[in-house]
């Protein structure tokens, strides 16, 4: 027992030490606050302010609710990371905030945000953040003749659906359309009968232990089903699988569907033939774009749909604004005084209105849900539709 305590102390100390080491590198130039979705008129609400709050919180032993609210307000969109890399000290700001969340949750026991506690419990107990019944996870596939991936079935490609796409009725369209597209291309694919959360959002909320547990379980499941290739429509899981999972390079190929479907078109396995005469624009999901640097494939795919007129929003690719729901914000509304998720999402859809597009495309279930709510909130459902790229592609099959 004493050894375990000592080991934990050592781990905590190492977390605090590594956090402090990163924090002292900050030049305090404030340039990271530029374009931060949660930064308003108060310096404190931007990355530099949060960074300094963590630093002095640790230094002055001020682990308060105010510190927690600041640390958990970040959407982890990494806009600040790009700016810091470009013009300052290249600090891994999102990594710093996630480590601070881990510190607040594990060591100081004041994290996560109250609304997120049940979310973490749900992920642990039921394998998804909403606490939906695990047996209903694959219900969306009923009648679609989608196989379960297993050692016996030995599918070439695993379609990892993700939690939101499995349970949210609006997002289920992504799964249905993608399955339809894959079938049309003759792909030998399957889904996991006992698929569970990738753990990506648990990590965002500072629950690194749960993330590691899920990563281990999922890797084991992939191995048992003989999986060598994963395709997903969830950029958050895609990022975790390809950049955060241990032994991720162990021969397992992970692709977002925008990459895979382009390849299928290149190999003449998939043809988009029907004209879809729509003016569309595209919102880069943070975890697909900035975090995974997949900028061109979604655009290429959109432009391959006959009849589509594609226009860019003023802020796009590396400079794209966030939808506001990353970093665990999907399950909490920040306290009064901090920028609300609706404000962030409405700002983004207003940029889409400026393009005069009829459709705002995205490639992430989180963005899809959030931006749809924002359009509804603005009573502009007749002017702008929010759909996933797969839905537009399905119209063209």
């Amino acid at each position: 027992m004493k050894d375990e305590i000592r080991k934990e102390e050592k781990l905590d100390k190492s977390l605090e030490t590594s956090l402090m080491d990163s924090l002292v590198s900050c030049e305090k130039c404030h340039l990271c606050n530029t374009d931060c979705p949660v930064c308003d008129h108060r310096v404190t609400h931007g990355p530099v302010g949060i960074n300094r709050a963590i630093y002095y919180g640790m230094k002055w032993n001020q682990f308060t609710k105010e510190l927690r609210d600041l640390v958990y307000s970040c959407t982890t969109c990494a806009r600040c990371v790009a700016t810091c890399k470009q013009v300052s000290r290249a600090l891994p700001l999102v990594e710093i905030f996630e480590k601070a969340r881990e510190l607040l949750l594990v060591e100081k026991m004041i994290g996560p945000m109250p609304d997120q506690r049940n979310v973490l419990k749900n992920i642990y107990r039921r394998g998804n953040p909403w606490g939906c019944p695990p047996q209903e996870r694959t219900k969306w596939a009923e009648g679609l003749d989608v196989f379960y991936a297993s050692k016996k079935n030995n599918v070439e490609t695993l379609y990892y659906v993700g939690c939101a796409t499995s349970y949210d009725p609006q997002s289920q369209k992504i799964a249905k359309n993608l399955s339809k597209i894959l079938k049309r291309a003759g792909i030998d694919f399957g889904i996991l009968e006992n698929e569970q959360c990738s753990g990506s959002e648990a990590k965002r909320m500072g629950e690194k232990g749960l993330f590691e547990h899920l990563a281990e379980t999922n890797m084991k499941m992939f191995e048992e089903a003989g999986i060598r290739h994963i395709v997903t429509g969830d950029p958050h899981s895609f990022y975790s699988f390809s950049q955060e999972y241990p032994n991720r390079t162990n021969g397992l190929k992970v692709e977002h569907y925008t990459q895979f479907l382009n390849r299928l078109i290149d190999e003449m396995k998939l043809t988009l033939s029907m004209r879809v005469p729509k003016k569309v624009t595209y919102h880069d999901p943070c975890y697909l774009g900035r975090k995974s640097e997949v900028f061109e494939e979604p655009r290429k795919l959109i432009k391959r749909i006959p009849g589509v007129e594609f226009v860019e929003m003023e802020k796009c690719k590396e400079n794209s604004d966030c939808c506001g729901m990353g970093g665990g914000r999907m399950w909490m509304e920040p306290p009064k005084g901090l920028v609300s998720s609706h404000v962030i999402a409405e700002k983004r859809v207003k940029q889409a209105f400026d393009t005069a597009a009829e459709i705002l495309l995205t490639a992430c279930p989180f963005c899809n849900i959030t931006l749809t709510d924002a359009v509804k909130g603005l009573n502009k459902e007749d002017s702008l539709k929010i759909i996933d790229i797969t839905e537009l592609m399905a119209m063209s099959l």
Binding site: C29, L31, R42, V43, R52, V87
Partner: protein, 472 residues
């Protein structure tokens, strides 16, 4: 100060609304902390941070502070490198960030905006219409126009192209330390001769009033073409630029240089195979791209004749990006040696003294037994504007006292160098840490005049208290 924090907060909330008055410790830390390498202490924090939304609210706050003798420190975005936003006597920190009105009047050829609008926003909006803002500071993404006008800086730009803000600001709205709001200047691009109160406040570093609104002229955006030149030493760059003006070359918009050590770090960071030594980058301008290109070619030819190992026009976008990357890598110098503490200075010698000043600064830490000798110095700057910066990097593990001491030593060194080379603080302003320089260079009579003007307008010394006194 006649009132306590609680009473102060209650009164301020009545003036600007509950959401815009904050006393949370992290808020107060963030509005006290600056890019100084040592940490703030509890006694450095303001009592309250207030975010008024218009000039009338600013006036209410200032009037109240004056009545109750509460110090008020004005805060734009906190990018000041003279650390003027650090409160010296607690009190109220007044953020201008919500003064964000912005309007371009193309027919009048000026824009008008609140003091809290960023330089980047103004630049972006003007560029959409083919105009440019005659200010280009390194911190443009966050720096506010109110801050730039308060210190009268044009940043990296050559002073003789568009002039300092005082030459381009047409009007400022000021809240005086006693709470009255005054308007100055003109709506015409023809500015007033003789007494124009506007000029008193531009460059006053916020000690005479709070600038709440600015009207400023803009210019057609020139086409630009960049040139790079590689020299064996930074000193040779100094010789070349000291000579360039006498050759009556087409004026450049911006001229930057990076010394040998900085180049080495930058080249390694980006994996570049540029010639060993120092590097100069210039930005030539013209009404058309062809004009700019012709002007750039003349600069490239001149720099080659003036001793550059190699010089050429930066027509390849990739190489252009790499060259500017080396210059913009400045914020990371010291990191390669694990040094995380840092402080930069500026020395602005007259042209004939440029080479000598560069040589001295380039070897500034050598042979010293003091704390400066224990730092790593990186020389760079806006050579076209005769502005030399030197960044001193040192271990973050140094104690607070040791850091404070090295900061004082470096400031003192900057003072001595500017006195020796007859320079000034040309980029960042004169207060607060440069007060000893100001007094030594211009004398006590000059310094006394500023104090008298301050006393006349701000009898209770509430605005930016401690800055004119040179307090840290």
């Amino acid at each position: 100060m006649n009132v306590g924090q609680e009473e102060m907060v209650r009164s301020l909330r009545e003036m600007v609304g509950e959401d815009y008055v904050n006393t949370d410790v992290f808020e107060r830390i963030n509005y006290a902390d600056t890019s100084l390498p040592y940490d703030v202490e509890e006694e450095d924090l303001p009592d309250v941070v207030v975010h008024p939304g218009n000039a009338h609210e600013v006036a209410e706050v200032v009037k109240y502070a004056n009545r109750e003798k509460i110090p008020v420190t004005t805060y734009g975005s906190g990018t000041s490198l003279i650390f003027g936003t650090k409160p010296k006597h607690r009190g109220i920190t007044l953020s201008t960030k919500r003064l964000n009105f912005f309007q371009i009047e193309e027919d009048f050829q000026w824009f008008e905006c609140g003091a809290g609008v960023t330089i980047a926003h103004i630049t972006g909006e003007l560029e959409k219409r083919g105009y440019c803002l005659p200010i280009n500071v390194g911190s443009r993404l966050q720096a506010t126009i109110g801050g730039a006008v308060s210190v009268n800086t044009c940043g990296h730009l050559m002073d003789y192209i568009y002039g300092k803000p005082v030459s381009n600001v047409l009007s400022v709205e000021i809240v005086l330390p006693t709470g009255e709001i005054i308007q100055t200047g003109s709506k015409s691009i023809r500015r007033a001769t003789g007494w124009d109160l506007m000029r008193l406040f531009v460059g006053a570093e916020g000690i005479l009033g709070v600038i709440t609104r600015i009207r400023m002229a803009f210019y057609p955006k020139p086409e630009t073409v960049d040139t790079v030149a590689f020299f064996k030493t930074a000193e040779e760059i100094g010789h070349a630029f000291a000579l360039m003006f006498k050759k009556k070359l087409p004026p450049i918009l911006d001229g930057e240089f990076v010394s040998e050590k900085c180049c080495k770090v930058g080249y390694e960071a980006y994996g570049l195979d540029f010639p060993e030594g120092a590097m100069a980058v210039t930005q030539s301008m013209g009404r058309t791209k062809e004009d700019a290109l012709n002007n750039a070619k003349q600069v490239a030819d001149f720099l080659r004749r003036a001793g550059a190992i190699e010089s050429f026009v930066l027509e390849d976008a990739k190489i252009r990006g790499q060259v500017w990357g080396v210059r913009e890598n400045a914020m990371r110098w010291g990191k390669e040696k694990g040094l995380k503490g840092y402080l930069a200075i500026e020395v602005n010698p007259p042209l004939p003294f440029l080479p000598r000043a560069i040589r001295e600064l380039n070897h500034i830490t050598e042979g010293r037994n003091d704390l400066i000798g224990g730092t790593e110095a990186y020389l760079y700057g806006h050579i076209g504007a005769s502005s030399l910066h030197c960044l001193f990097a040192f271990p973050y593990a140094w104690s607070r006292e040791k850091m404070k001491q090295v900061v004082r030593d470096i400031w003192n060194l900057e003072k001595d160098l500017n006195i020796k080379y007859d320079g000034v603080g040309g980029d960042w302003g004169q207060l607060p840490y440069r007060v000893p320089f100001y007094r030594e260079k211009y004398g006590e009579t000059s310094y006394g005049i500023i104090k008298k003007v301050k006393q006349l307008l701000d009898p209770n010394n509430i605005l930016n208290r401690g800055n004119l006194e040179g307090e840290e």
